[in-house]
């Protein structure tokens, strides 16, 4: 079943169109930066963007910083919201279940497919970011990059830190995907599920900045979304990354559990 879901994922034009669009924005930004040579003022604009001029190897991280607040969550929420509700609205859900495919198995396969999509999207942005960064923004003649703390990063350092960043961002997206997947089992409308997931995201983003919500802030899903920036400090403060991963794990567990309880016992009337 997992193989079937993955084949469905790659055979669908929409998958590639959405990932393509996701990669387009960083490329456009890189082109503008390269042509004008005007970097955003430090402290303004997306994270790390100020540092990429003449330092193209850092662009994968900056590219993810560009798509992280908005585009990436939208793509993931739409994909996860579609997972069950999309099958329901095309009517293929009933044929899969009658095939028969166990409901738990179907849900697990859908989850794997959504996670695969998320990783694919994050890795695609990172790879496109690297290629455009190196070719458009240059490498400033040396092979080292500097961290936020001013220390030098060897290419190996940069590679593994970027790798961990990809995993960390991917994992935070899985938390959002779990929420959307749960909503997707509640409704037959993919759009509704995707918007529901995004509504949760926006609420969390608003509450994180609100001092009055300080007591729950550390448990909000987006609280540690920017923790990956810590990977480019020296020494790396792992605390936020670890806590962020745990918080996401909590959301994944609870919402997947709810999705499972709901989907395995509900009436399929679509």
């Amino acid at each position: 079943m997992i193989r079937v879901e993955l084949r469905k994922l790659v055979s669908r034009p929409r998958t590639w169109v959405s990932i393509g669009l996701l990669c387009l924005l960083p490329v456009v930004v890189a082109v503008f930066l390269a042509v004008t040579g005007i970097a955003p003022r430090p402290g303004q604009g997306p994270t790390l963007l100020a540092a990429v001029l003449g330092n193209g190897a850092l662009y994968p991280a900056a590219a993810l910083g560009i798509v992280l607040p908005f585009f990436l969550p939208i793509a993931v929420a739409v994909q996860a919201g579609e997972a069950v509700a999309g099958e329901a609205s095309t009517g293929t859900l009933r044929y899969l279940l009658v095939r028969p495919v166990g409901r738990t198995r179907l849900l697990a396969a859908k989850l794997v497919s959504v996670v695969a999509y998320t990783l694919l999207a994050v890795v695609a942005v990172a790879v496109v970011g690297y290629v455009t960064g190196i070719s458009l923004l240059g490498n400033s003649g040396q092979l080292t990059t500097t961290t936020l703390s001013g220390t030098a990063l060897t290419p190996t350092d940069l590679a593994w830190r970027t790798g961990v960043m990809v995993l960390s961002i991917g994992w935070s997206m899985v938390g959002l995907a779990a929420i959307s997947l749960f909503l997707s089992t509640l409704t037959d409308s993919s759009l509704g599920a995707a918007l529901g997931g995004l509504a949760a995201l926006v609420s969390s983003t608003v509450l994180v900045t609100l001092d009055a919500a300080g007591s729950v802030r550390d448990y909000l899903p987006t609280r540690y979304w920017l923790a990956w920036v810590d990977l480019f400090r020296d020494p790396i403060p792992w605390h936020d990354l670890q806590v962020g991963a745990l918080v996401q794990a909590g959301y994944v567990l609870v919402f997947l559990g709810a999705a499972w309880a709901n989907f395995t016992t509900r009436d399929v009337t679509s």
């Binding site: 079937v4 095309t90 009517g91 044929y95």
Partner: protein
């Protein structure tokens, strides 16, 4: 898992009931479909047919009552039952951007690889997938559709694809909900022939439809659903049995009535064609011999039979 004995009912339900909130969609259904039946599940739209079908397939969970499909309780052992069931529920559905073959490949691969007995495992093996898909496409008349995506299919072609999907794994029971929807008359005849052929090969067919004519032409056994209740379940011949009356067509009704000793029919009241007499309590042989003796020309004489339509209207009024 043991193979069910040959006379295990294909479908058996006891007091099957489904309520959606306060609305009772299906109320205390006792269905019995014997193996080898061509069962017509008849009822107007909204009578609860689709809900019943969905309960049999484990899609909708019953509020109370029990259902067994091929000897397996549903939904508890739905997987074991459904592995030997092909179904078409409320219209076909497929991924619109893929071709018929790609759709069938995905659906085939999605199912369980091994359902216990070696025969089913052979049927489900990956190696024979291509052959199986070609053979069902051939059977439903979609062999030469090529790589066109389902998006571009006509309603009839989609219906055929839905049938192909139901037949994919050589099911022992076919559950078909309005299978001839969107087909032209020739297509309908082809599908009927296909189902008859499969039935002769031992496949039980459960056909749910609101079309009396379709059921009457195809089925051997009929269940009639009305407002969620099963109002009749019997062999088709029993529902169409003789009424005990005799119909004679003659050229002179007045003379015939006199010869048989019955009052001449009031045509405005009965609506019968001119020259027809309906006789109570007398056989064809008796009536014809008396008419011949009275020198009345008999055009046709036969025992009166109920039509399925008549029975159904009678049951549901």
């Amino acid at each position: 898992m043991t193979d069910p004995s040959p006379d295990t009912p294909a479908v058996a339900t006891r007091g099957l009931t489904k309520r959606f909130g306060r609305v009772t969609a299906v109320d205390g259904l006792d269905l019995l479909v014997r193996p080898g039946d061509r069962y017509g599940f008849l009822g107007p739209n909204g009578s609860g047919k689709t809900t019943t079908v969905r309960m049999l397939l484990g899609l909708v969970h019953a509020t109370s009552g029990e259902a067994e499909v091929l000897g397996h309780p549903v939904p508890r052992q739905a997987a074991a039952a459904l592995a030997q069931v092909g179904a078409l529920v409320e219209g076909p559905a497929a991924y619109p951007h893929l071709s018929a073959r790609a759709n069938l490949r995905l659906l085939d691969a999605a199912g369980p690889r091994d359902v216990g007995d070696p025969l089913a495992a052979e049927v489900g093996s990956r190696r024979s997938r291509r052959r199986r898909i070609e053979s069902v496409l051939e059977e439903v008349g979609l062999a030469d559709v090529g790589r066109k995506p389902v998006r571009a299919y006509s309603l009839g072609m989609r219906q055929r694809l839905g049938l192909a999907a139901a037949l994919l794994r050589g099911p022992r029971l076919l559950v078909l909900d309005e299978p001839t929807n969107g087909l032209d008359p020739r297509g309908i005849a082809e599908v009927r022939d296909l189902l008859l052929r499969l039935n002769e090969g031992g496949t039980t067919v459960f056909l749910s439809s609101h079309l009396l004519a379709e059921v009457e032409l195809f089925c051997t056994r009929v269940g009639v659903l009305h407002r969620g209740r099963l109002v009749a379940q019997d062999d088709l011949d029993a529902l169409r049995g003789p009424t005990g009356r005799t119909v004679v067509d003659v050229d002179d009704v007045e003379a015939a009535a006199r010869a048989l000793g019955v009052p001449p029919p009031d045509r405005r009241r009965t609506g019968e064609p001119a020259g027809r007499l309906v006789l109570e309590g007398s056989s064809v042989a008796e009536a014809t011999s008396r008419l011949v003796r009275a020198d009345v020309a008999v055009l046709e004489a036969a025992p009166e039979r109920r039509t399925l339509e008549g029975s159904v209207l009678e049951l549901t009024s």
